[in-house]
């Protein structure tokens, strides 16, 4: 009998402080990424939206030349906005999987494990970033085909990867919070729809802040998506200028993420009560 006479050794020594925390966080992400590998269809269906925006909306508005884009073409201007949009749309509905897994009893199993609650939140944020990075590769390919003036330099690309990851982590964690509050799939779908459009339109994704009425500019400056788009535009497009400065773009995003993780960690266990 292979199981017999095994010592009840439960306290494993960590190879370095925080190793367990890291292992648990990555385990949560790994579960989701393995599912994605078993069934990657979702990645392909998500490609439809950026194609429509860039090919139809972008091509038409590129001709109007009505939007002040600071010396770059409208297609160049909007490509980072569309990348941010596809990150946002992908991440904002991510919380529904929490409700689904709660109904199946999977979340309960994670919650009775000794993994700290914050690892459960961070792990999900990481798996969301993996999906978004796939989107990023696709939007880059599409942009290349559309002759958008991309900055193909290692530091700039690394910056885009970081901005996509942080943006995805922010909106997937926000989505987790919404899931914990509304608790049912039907309500979540309703609220998800209501949230996405205002977040998108109250940002600088497809038009600059200067074009907005002053009240909308205030809203836009409180919207993490604006900082994500600004960072992406600066790092992605040749000749574009930043509105806030890259430092502020990332700082605002990191602050937003930290606050959302704290709130989500607090709310996560309530999804099962």
């Amino acid at each position: 009998m292979p199981l017999a006479h095994e010592s009840h050794l439960n306290e494993w020594v960590e190879p370095f402080p925080g190793a367990n925390y890291l292992r648990q966080t990555l385990a949560v992400a790994e579960a989701d990424i393995r599912k994605l590998i078993h069934d990657p269809v979702e990645l392909f269906t998500r490609m439809v939206q950026p194609v429509l925006w860039l090919l139809i909306f972008g091509q038409v508005f590129n001709r109007t030349r009505a939007i002040p884009t600071g010396g770059i073409s409208y297609l160049d201007f909007m490509a980072p906005g569309i990348l941010a949009q596809s990150v946002l749309f992908g991440a904002i509905f991510y919380g529904i999987s929490l409700i689904w897994e709660r109904d199946l009893g999977i979340v309960q199993k994670f919650l009775v494990s000794p993994a700290p609650r914050s690892t459960l939140v961070l792990g999900r944020a990481i798996s969301s970033t993996v999906r978004s990075l796939c989107q990023m590769v696709f939007v880059y390919l599409l942009s290349y085909l559309l002759h958008i003036h991309l900055r193909i330099e290692i530091p700039a690309l690394a910056g885009v990867v970081l901005a996509v990851m942080v943006g995805s982590a922010i909106f997937s964690t926000f989505s987790l919070i919404v899931a914990c509050l509304v608790k049912s799939r039907e309500r979540f779908m309703g609220i998800g729809q209501v949230l996405t459009m205002p977040l998108f339109f109250a940002s600088n994704a497809i038009y600059p802040l200067t074009l907005m009425p002053s009240w909308l500019r205030v809203v836009s400056k409180a919207n993490p998506l604006s900082y994500q788009v600004d960072a992406l535009r600066t790092l992605m497009i040749v000749g574009s200028s930043t509105s806030f400065g890259l430092g502020k773009d990332f700082l605002m995003q990191f602050i937003a993420f930290a606050v959302l993780v704290a709130v989500a960690t607090k709310l996560y266990p309530t999804i099962v009560t």
Partner: protein, 270 residues
Amino acid sequence: MDTTPGTNVIEVLSLTRRYGLLVAVDHLTFSVASGATFGLLGPNGAGKSTLIKMLTTLLPPTEGTAKIAGFDLVKHPELVRKKIGYVSQMLSADGDLTGYENLLISAKLYGMPRTERSRRIAQALEFMELAHVGGKLVRQYSGGMIRRLEIAQSMLHRPSVLFMDEPSVGLDPSAKRSVWERIRELRREFGTTILMTTHDMEEADHLCDTVAVMHRGVLAAMDTPAALKAQVGAESSLDDVFIHFTGATISEGGELRDAARTRITSQRVG
């Protein structure tokens, strides 16, 4: 360590949970000795699931507490979690992952180092007679196989206490017996203390040393199955005991969600 035979590994002290005016679990006090299998019977809405949720740290109690493997549930839920395993009423193994992957993720969540992990996962798959399907997606498993996988998952870190919420709900008789056999074997191998809820009187008779009948948030009776049957009358079955102490054959109350969940689980295993 207080999980040596003869000591109480679960001590429930005036544990209470209220939902508004409804008292789902009403000042429960009982204990379970180390290595014992304790069965909780009761109609839907009796408070069994609420009790299990509190004991597994999923739901904070309104009042009272419990000590699990020596740790206070309210003060140190994180220490309690290291000592317990949980098999929920739902089929909680992830259908979109393989059996091996389900075990792998669990092992990592419990902080198991790589070498220990591979050894224990291989053993668990073999022990649960799942080694040949370890690489298959769980959604292709039968109900009995999923249950065995879940028990393996909950035992990977060798918990002192295993909580099982209706472990054989919806299983056909042979799958049920195979699950029972594994539960008994785990108990023999590791001396695990088990607290399980069930609607299945045969299951309670087969597996439990002590049975408690829960009704409207309190324990209406608690003793060995034999003693309970004797108490009700000569040649009584546990069904008679259940009816005697709960006072009705038709269950009242119970959340719609609980009933729906049982049906869904039954459908998925069926």
